[in-house]
């Protein structure tokens, strides 16, 4: 790859990260103005993990995400308009206003859901990888999860089964150092909550800078190559940081003074902008990409606001595969 094409590719990743950042800001602001209900778990700060991973994977690969999953949905092709409309309970929402912030899903492009029971989707990703093997494809499956998920049983059951069946699955931990409100180190008997457990299952693991989209992309590419070659699963632990609290109601006052500011110096968008400049991309081109992202999200907010409310008939659809909800004769 030449420097120029590498820079072009990186500029596209930078722009996608900017779209996610703007979408999260919009979700936050719309919540404050009463247009987003329920709760949100914003991923501002985590963008590089989703965008870097998607860049390393192919169409047809599978992704399973968590309740903090807006960035994965967008990285896998969901539009900000679909996502914000879902959060705003509009009929045009990504999940027809039946899922909400915690369950954004773009199944058509392989993003098979955001799950809000911690750790539950790791075995699902193992199953999708098993399915790929059974069907004789070279697809891989990725489970994204937080550091908190590494202390739940499903994490360990999933790693063990994936290891003994040598399945093409990637376990990507977004270690943001807090399980909800509690520092992960204070409740975990391993220094690296995900990577530190991998050796006991005979799995290769890497700890990577989760705020550098290029580092994430390259690590995921290595893991995917290993998986497609039949060499089994990999555990990646990407260090990152959330800019907002755990959820909408959390002002994150438990964080020590200066911690957020230190992480903001390593903001994924700052890191990628620096890499772009080093590769010869002009400040004007970087700004143009960020302006395009802002424009897309501004239009998405307007469209979602103007969209009709949830269609009431949808309350009784989609329970069964026939589209209905009948439970009796």
């Amino acid at each position: 790859m030449t420097d120029a094409t590498a820079a072009t590719g990186l500029l596209a990743l930078h722009e996608t990260m900017a779209v996610i950042r703007r979408t999260e800001k919009a979700a936050h602001d719309l919540f404050m103005s009463g247009l987003v209900k329920g709760t949100t778990h914003l991923a501002a700060g985590h963008e590089a993990v989703a965008v870097g991973a998607r860049a390393a994977l192919r169409d047809g690969d599978y992704a399973f995400a968590t309740y903090r999953g807006h960035h994965h949905a967008i990285a896998w092709g969901a539009t900000p308009e679909e996502c914000l409309a879902e959060l705003m309970q509009r009929s045009t929402g990504l999940n027809k206003a039946k899922g909400g912030s915690m369950h954004l899903t773009k199944a058509g492009s392989g993003m098979l859901g955001s799950y809000a029971i911690v750790g539950a989707h790791l075995p699902m990703a193992v199953g999708a990888a098993w399915s790929a093997r059974l069907r004789g494809t070279d697809q891989v499956a990725v489970a994204f999860f937080g550091d908190g998920a590494t202390n739940i049983g499903a994490f360990h059951e999933a790693l063990n089964l994936a290891a003994v069946w040598r399945l093409p699955v990637l376990f990507v931990c977004e270690n943001n150092f807090y399980m909800e409100y509690t520092p992960i180190g204070s409740v975990t008997a391993a220094e690296h909550p995900a990577a530190g457990r991998a050796p006991s299952y005979g799995l290769p693991a890497e700890v990577v800078d989760g705020n550098d989209v290029v580092t994430v992309r390259d690590a995921v590419a290595r893991a995917a190559q290993r998986a497609r070659a039949g060499d089994g699963p990999t555990v990646l632990e990407a260090h990152t940081y959330r800019h907002y609290g755990h959820s909408r109601t959390d002002p994150a006052k438990y964080r020590p003074d200066g911690e957020l500011e230190r992480w903001l110096e390593r903001d994924p968008l700052t890191v990628s902008a620096q890499r772009l400049r080093e590769a010869g991309t002009s400040d004007d081109d970087i700004k143009a990409a960020e302006d395009r992202a802002a424009g897309v999200v501004d239009e998405a907010v307007a469209a979602a606001r103007a969209a009709p409310e949830a269609d009431l008939s949808e309350a009784f659809t989609d329970v069964w595969a026939d589209g209905g909800a009948a439970w009796r004769t």
Binding site: N95, M124, D318, R328, T329
Partner: protein, 326 residues
């Protein structure tokens, strides 16, 4: 043709579907070369090999979670949870994941899988290996539930379960595994949501499921011989969809209802049946309804103690007599 066992019919039902559809795969503990601890998967590993019959670790969450992921991506997994009591170990998948994912994604995914499990008491396995828990599944909108009572229905309902694009919990009753009946005809398919009238009668309706079907039939024979009472016995066969229309049709003839269920009285499926009858069939009734159900205690070990707390023929006969003299 010679009668076959309920136990062999489980493997037969799965094998027929595996021959028909290469997307059908099995996973579970000891189901491969060992043939299952209840010998309900005997022959599958030999016929279909290790690429379609997968032994797993003791990891109920991984078993059902992996089945879910595979079902979402083009396979039709048949997962075994050895004892239905162990469903509690993977309950998240049956309560929160599998039944909700289609709905909460606005219909973006389907989950065509079967979770098979050995259910119920009568074998003296004690409190943690004997409970009838079909009512657990009934508390969760989004799961279909089958619980066959005969070898032929095992095969026919298995065909519907595996072919269903919806998730199915398939309860195989431990107390029936050794029972025998007519073999299923070729291509036998029993649709979900169709109760079977397994004995006709005009005096009282006995609604039963799985193990309580033979129990109700025995009680009906005794009532006919001793009391001259003609009991109609309905085998629901599936709890979701629930064939309450068949119950109401029967009550139009009998006007008396006894529900016979092995799961506990508290929260048992009979409560749902009788609530529909009270709502929509009140004027059909000439007597109160009775539920002969498991007692609201854990299952005791000793046979004599277990008889105290699960439905028996005597309890069914007594319940019917209390209505015919009402």
């Amino acid at each position: 043709m010679a009668d076959v066992t309920y136990r062999d019919s489980v493997a037969e039902g799965i094998a027929r579907e595996m021959r028909r559809d290469p997307a059908v795969v099995c996973l579970g503990e000891d189901i491969g070369a060992a043939g299952g601890v209840f010998k309900t998967t005997v022959g599958l590993f030999e016929e279909f090999g290790p690429e379609r019959v997968w032994d797993t670790p003791i990891s109920e969450q991984a078993i059902v979670g992996a089945a879910m992921g595979a079902a979402m991506t083009g396979m039709r997994p048949v997962a075994e949870i050895m004892f239905s009591d162990f469903l509690a170990c993977c309950w998240d998948y049956l309560a929160n994941e599998i039944p909700k994912v289609r709905y909460m994604t606005g219909g973006q995914v389907t989950v065509p899988l079967v979770v098979r499990t050995a259910n119920g008491g009568g074998l003296g396995f004690g409190a943690q290996h004997s409970q009838a828990v079909e009512n657990w599944a009934l508390t969760v909108p989004g799961l279909k539930i089958a619980a066959p009572s005969t070898p032929a229905d095992v095969v026919g309902l298995m065909a519907s379960a595996v072919r269903s694009d919806d998730p199915v919990v398939f309860f195989e009753h431990k107390g029936l595994l050794a029972s025998k009946g007519a073999p299923a005809p070729d291509d036998h398919v029993v649709p979900f949501g169709e109760a079977a009238v397994v004995r006709e009668g005009g005096d009282v309706t006995l609604v039963a499921l799985a193990s309580t079907v033979p129990l109700a039939l025995t009680a009906a024979e005794r009532l006919a011989a001793d009391d001259g009472v003609a009991a109609e016995v309905l085998d629901l066969r599936t709890l979701i969809p629930l064939d309450v229309a068949a119950v109401l049709r029967s009550l139009e003839r009998t006007s008396r209802l006894v529900v016979v269920e092995e799961n506990p009285y508290q929260g048992g499926w009979g409560g749902t049946v009788v609530s529909v009858v009270a709502d929509e069939g009140f004027e059909l009734l000439d007597a109160p309804v009775r539920r002969v159900a498991g007692a609201n205690v854990p299952l005791p070990f000793a046979d004599a103690l277990e008889d105290q707390v699960i439905p028996t023929v005597d309890k069914v006969v007594d319940a019917v007599r209390s209505l015919t003299t009402y």
